[in-house]
């Protein structure tokens, strides 16, 4: 058996996750976002008399919905601030800026937003600041591009945009970059695939062979034991015929997705069955790997393009019934 070296560093790769969250607003936040689209800042008056900006949806004391909407100024005072020497993706600037809690004139709770000043030395608690609006407000927090120092002179009242239809939904894109590492066991498995080999691992307690190997046996919770080289042939345990087209589909339906149990393994994995009519695929059918050309191999099970029938007699149901 080929000795499998334990890699010192697991395989690792970045993945970018992104999703546009679409959220309904309800009456209170709809009034706030609609206000922003019209270059107005709207708060809500609570039962204790405080004007919340942004409006709280429910009264912090009575828990009743807050619907008494109040216009406040787009100018106010810095209550607290912190300096951002290095902006992060998604933040209002890609250069140094400050975050500030800003108490707008007419509000009783401070609003969090970005403050555009050249350095931390140009800010002080209590300084007067004013909203800088984007050219084309649409009804979300980024309609206020940032706040800027209000220079003594009376604030020119920002031109009110034309009245807009109520904003009832906002879309917030979320994007995260994550550096994923494979486990040591997965790394061994993937590196073996790169050489055209299939490597599983045997649980030292239940003796079952897992491919891909796992960091702990899901039945016994112990780290895996010896590596086991497996052949590139086995049987179909169960399968389905894919008739439905979907986005990103690479093969024209109908085709077969099946659980393939390699000879000597105890866990099947999902793969494609081609090389025969979909209607000919059956449980217990013997199959073998159809490898891609060697020059296309990488650390991936995609090196096997699909499995195809070998023509050998089918396996007895009893021989694989434990693996369904």
């Amino acid at each position: 058996m080929t000795v499998t070296q334990t890699p010192s560093t697991p395989l690792s790769a970045p993945i970018e996750l992104s999703f546009d969250y679409t959220r309904s607003l309800g009456p209170t936040l709809s009034a706030f976002m609609t206000g922003l689209a019209e270059r107005r800042i709207v708060g809500a008056r609570a039962s204790d008399g405080r004007v919340f900006v942004p409006p709280a949806e429910f009264d912090p004391v009575t828990a009743q919905p807050l619907t008494d909407m109040v216009d406040v100024a787009d100018e106010g005072s810095v209550v607290s601030w912190t300096w951002v020497p290095e902006a992060l993706p998604g933040q209002p600037f890609d250069r140094p800026f400050a975050w500030a809690l800003i108490l707008l004139d007419g509000a009783d709770t401070p609003l969090l937003h970005a403050l555009d000043v050249p350095s931390a030395g140009a800010i002080a608690t209590g300084m007067r600041v004013r909203a800088r609006w984007t050219d084309s407000p649409v009804g979300n927090m980024n309609d206020i591009a940032c706040f800027v120092p209000a220079d003594g002179a009376a604030a020119p009242r920002t031109a009110t945009a034309t009245r807009v239809e109520p904003v009832e939904v906002i879309t917030t894109p979320v994007q995260l970059t994550v550096q994923h590492s494979a486990s040591i066991e997965e790394t061994n498995y993937l590196k073996a695939l790169e050489q055209g080999r299939l490597v599983g691992q045997r649980c030292p307690v239940c003796k079952k062979v897992y491919i891909p190997p796992r960091s702990a046996c899901p039945t016994d919770g112990v780290p895996p034991g010896e590596y086991v080289e497996l052949p590139d042939r086995g049987i179909v345990t169960t399968f389905c015929i894919v008739n439905v087209p979907f986005l990103g589909q690479k093969i024209k339906p109908p085709y077969v997705a099946a659980y393939v149990l390699l000879d000597g393994a105890d866990i099947p994995f999902l793969h494609l069955i081609l090389g025969c009519e979909a209607s000919e695929v059956r449980m217990g059918m013997r199959v073998e790997a159809a490898w891609r050309p060697r020059e296309e191999w990488g650390p991936t099970l995609q090196n096997i393009e699909y499995f195809r029938p070998t023509g050998e007699p089918d396996a007895d149901y009893d021989s694989y019934k434990e693996h369904l």
Partner: protein, 353 residues
């Protein structure tokens, strides 16, 4: 209802960057192994399992399901999960024993903070309508909170640095701590700002890790340890998600949780406080009415290592350990979750009489 005790605690080494996956299995297998060894229990003997972790942090769906491999789940186990620190998983496990349905439980938490940009990922715990779309990072939010107290004269940058110095010196006796050190206050105050008014020493490091605690009914607790840490009170409270509507210089939810947990002016030998930023320890001490006599964070606390989703559970474990070892008679532990101490849990433990 059954009284409940902590009977064992174990943790993975706190590391800046672990090589493992984000599903926690590699970190948890040895941690569970330590707990089995110290209690004599096996994975088949635990009545209930509960985990705390986050898919945003791990960058994959249902990461807590993958983590179950570390337990071994056949035949099926009784299991639950919270998208919060493992301290809240412990709360659920405590409740499960209280009901009398089980008499042992294991709570665990895990997080690979280094897989993403932690302070940016944590922006996703902010209000999703009016705050999160701007992506304010967790360090900046803490910076805003720190300045409010500085401007109000409630604490100074020197007070904050003193918390960091004490934490990292105490961490020298903690083999699992990520950061240790003996710099003095003046040396720390000479460092540049990281997020003015915060310097790096004011912020918990980015930590990968895992922690787990075994709970048992007091009737069974002495089967597993000589000195069980009996939970005499545990409670958690949350504040509004409206950041501007809160007084960020105090922690009414901590005070309320402490009251519900029966703090009541009781004296403690040790307190482990989950303050990921130096000034937050000052807020918590005030909210819990802890005076100068209490040894706070003898483990080094979060400023010496703060594995996300295990950091709060680690506070309970470190506090319990002082009772399990016979050093302490009464211990207080605190866990936090959310921006600027939004949600807080207080756990009081005593040596069995």
């Amino acid at each position: 209802m059954a009284d409940v005790a902590v009977v064992a605690f174990a943790q993975a080494p706190q590391e800046r960057h672990s090589s493992g996956t984000t599903n926690g299995v590699e970190a948890l297998v040895p941690v569970f192994g330590q707990l089995y060894a110290s209690t004599g229990l096996t994975n088949r003997d635990i009545g209930f399992w509960c985990s705390g972790s986050s898919d945003y942090l791990s960058g994959r769906a249902f990461s807590f399901i993958s983590a179950l491999d570390a337990i071994g789940t056949f035949p099926p186990i009784a299991e639950s999960h919270v998208e919060a620190d493992g301290a809240w998983a412990l709360y659920e496990a405590w409740l499960k024993i209280k009901t009398g349905e089980v008499d042992t439980a294991l709570a665990y938490g895990f997080g690979k903070s280094s897989a993403g940009l932690l302070r940016r990922t944590l922006a996703l715990q902010l209000d999703p309508y009016t705050v999160a779309p701007l992506w304010p990072d967790s360090v900046s939010i803490a910076g805003l909170q720190a300045r409010l107290g500085l401007d109000a004269g409630l604490w100074t940058e020197r007070d904050m640095a003193e918390v960091a110095v004490r934490s990292r010196r105490d961490a020298e006796t903690n083999p699992n701590a990520q950061l240790q050190g003996s710099k003095d206050v003046d040396e720390l105050l000479a460092e540049p700002y990281f997020a003015d008014p915060l310097r790096k020493h004011d912020c918990a490091p980015i930590t990968d890790g895992a922690a787990a605690i075994v709970l048992a009914s007091v009737e069974r607790a002495t089967e597993f340890t000589e000195n069980p840490a009996v939970i005499t009170g545990i409670a958690h409270r949350i504040e509004s998600s409206h950041l501007g509507g809160r007084d960020l210089t105090s922690s009414p939810s901590t005070a309320a949780a402490g009251g519900a947990a029966g703090l009541d002016g009781a004296r403690f030998d040790v307190a482990e406080l989950h303050a990921p930023f130096s000034h937050q320890e000052l807020i918590l001490r005030s909210a819990l009415g802890l005076d100068g006599d209490v040894h706070i964070n003898p483990s080094g606390g979060p400023l010496a290592g703060n594995p996300m989703f295990a950091g709060g559970l680690t506070r309970i474990g470190e506090a319990a350990n002082r009772i399990l070892s016979g050093e302490a008679g009464r211990a207080l532990a605190h866990a936090t979750s959310g921006p600027a101490l939004q949600q807080n849990l207080v756990c009081v433990m005593e040596a069995a009489r």
